[in-house]
Amino acid sequence: MIEALAGFAAFLALAFLRVPMAFAMGIVGFVGFAYKVNLNAAAAMIGQTAYETGLAYTLSVIPLFILMGNFVVRARMSEELYNAAYTFLGHLRGGLAMSTVIASGGFGSICGSSIATAATFAKVAYPSMRKFGYKDSLAAGSIAAGGTLGILIPPSVIMVIYGIMTETNIGKVFIAGILPGIAAVLLLCLAVVWITWRDPAAGPPGERSAPGQRLEAVKRVWPVVALFVLVIGGIYGGVFTATEGAGIGAGGAFVFALARRALTWKVLIEVLIESARTTSMLFMILIGALIFANFINYTTMPADLKDFAGQFKATPWLVIAAICVIYVVLGTAMEELSMILLTVPLFFPMVTALGYEPVWFGIIVVIVVQIGLISPPVGMNIFVVKNLIRHLSISTVFRGVSPFTVALVALLAIIVAFPQLATYLPGFMK
């Protein structure tokens, strides 16, 4: 136990000295492993981890979903989604902000990245919210919070990583995200209602659309629906594995982008290189985290934690509540991906030993990551929105997003209280 804690402390020290996360984890893992076993074994271990992670077939799902998301962004399907939601809700108070949330949810059903979703709607939704005189805090808050739906509604890069780390069926984790995803959309819309009830000037109503316009707008969303049904339907129905679904999804998104004349050679190459870079960055952290985990598994920490959790057999929710609190606190300061890579290997055995479902815990992890993405001081989505809408101040975005953070915390509580929301749909899968 002491060694593992020393390892975590050393990692944090290196990370706060601004050594990149991947190297910080790798170094501590290497040194720790050398200390617990021996230097030769540690040297062989890091070479093997880097090699085998690079050549792991199941991991090819990561670049493919990233690529799919990037194609979808370039294909500009977001505009139709936003427009469709707008024709139904635009005339309500706060309707444009609700449209942003709903369209982000729809976009999340074909894009697995929260950053890409937030960045997309900063470009698509912000101009019209500004046009109708929305306050910047509400506009920025709804975009940053809506963006996090990208990882809760399948496909989701975070779910893929969770599935790989815990050897949980990625397809099942995806499907488990659907109902919580819908609940999240509703809760975020409720947050909008609350904000505009407190301050009607924050989100004045837009124009009412005629039924004909609504029908027309909904019809235009078909590519999104088609892609979602193809990929997630295919995975749910057991036609594809997650990897195959990702490949088909990337291929499908490529075809749509091509058909909509959104791709020139230059753009295509940009998209490919951008996806490759994101992949490399993720894998660097993944390799670092695996090296670190190899060390931690040689310490007594995983077993100690499991024993500790065993004392709470009668009140397992206490453990879950503690884990959620730890995550929400860690998530404010830590980069979310590193946070789950470091902690899930420790928490997962505890949680499953208490009889909880792996897919359910996956959803919990995703929701705490969402909360982390929009909570100060280092919420990634907030920086994304701030960077794309230059005149906003960070404090405006933080202020705007806080009611939505409350909504996501409520979502977390709901999923903890009613695990069926996550486990119901995957129950039908083989």
């Binding site: 190297f23 792991a56 090819s60 493919l64 594809f240 490949g247 990337a250 992949t279 490399s280």
Partner: protein
């Protein structure tokens, strides 16, 4: 884009376009291969011969070719919580320490991969279906890791960039 010239920018001009195109090509092939494989399997009952191992090799090529690119853009995930309040002199020290540490890690990993490649070369390890010599792939991984190490060394001589802060008044 009138950015001041960076020290050692010939390194970027040499590495970035080449590896960029390699990574782009591999990324595209990975997507195409998966699609063809799935369609072949379900509709024609004929998966791609060696598709599994090609996917694995392409994934490795993709990741390792992308690494020098990520590094040169200073895109590695870092804790930048204190960037806004770190004084300049400390920030420069942090930058040099981070780059040097990264250099040591990647250079060492590159060497370990090279040893692994030599071992595979001697053993004559090949893939199961296509009989491709795995040593070539591992040598390439080692070389690309060496490029990453070189990129980190190059970065150490450049001015550190703070995340998100200098963009505020752009």
């Amino acid at each position: 884009m009138n950015e001041p010239r960076q020290p050692l920018d010939w390194f970027d001009r040499m590495v970035v376009p080449t590896l960029g195109y390699v990574a782009a090509a591999v990324m595209f092939c990975l997507m195409a291969l998966t699609c063809v494989d799935v369609i072949g399997r379900y509709f024609l009952n004929r998966p791609v011969w060696g598709g599994f191992e090609l996917t694995e090799m392409m994934l490795a090529a993709l990741i390792f070719a992308g690494l020098p690119l990520v590094t040169l853009r200073n895109d590695h995930v870092t804790v930048d919580l204190f960037d806004p309040v770190t004084p300049d002199w400390l920030f420069r020290i942090q930058h040099v320490v981070a780059c040097t540490t990264g250099f040591v890690c990647t250079a060492y990993l590159s060497w370990r991969l090279w040893l692994r490649a030599e071992h595979m070369d001697r053993a004559g390890e090949t893939t199961a279906q296509l009989k491709i010599k795995l040593a070539y792939l591992t040598y390439s991984m080692s070389l690309l890791m060496a490029f990453t190490a070189a990129a980190l060394l190059v970065l150490a001589f450049r001015r550190a960039q703070r995340h998100f802060v200098d963009e505020a008044d752009a």
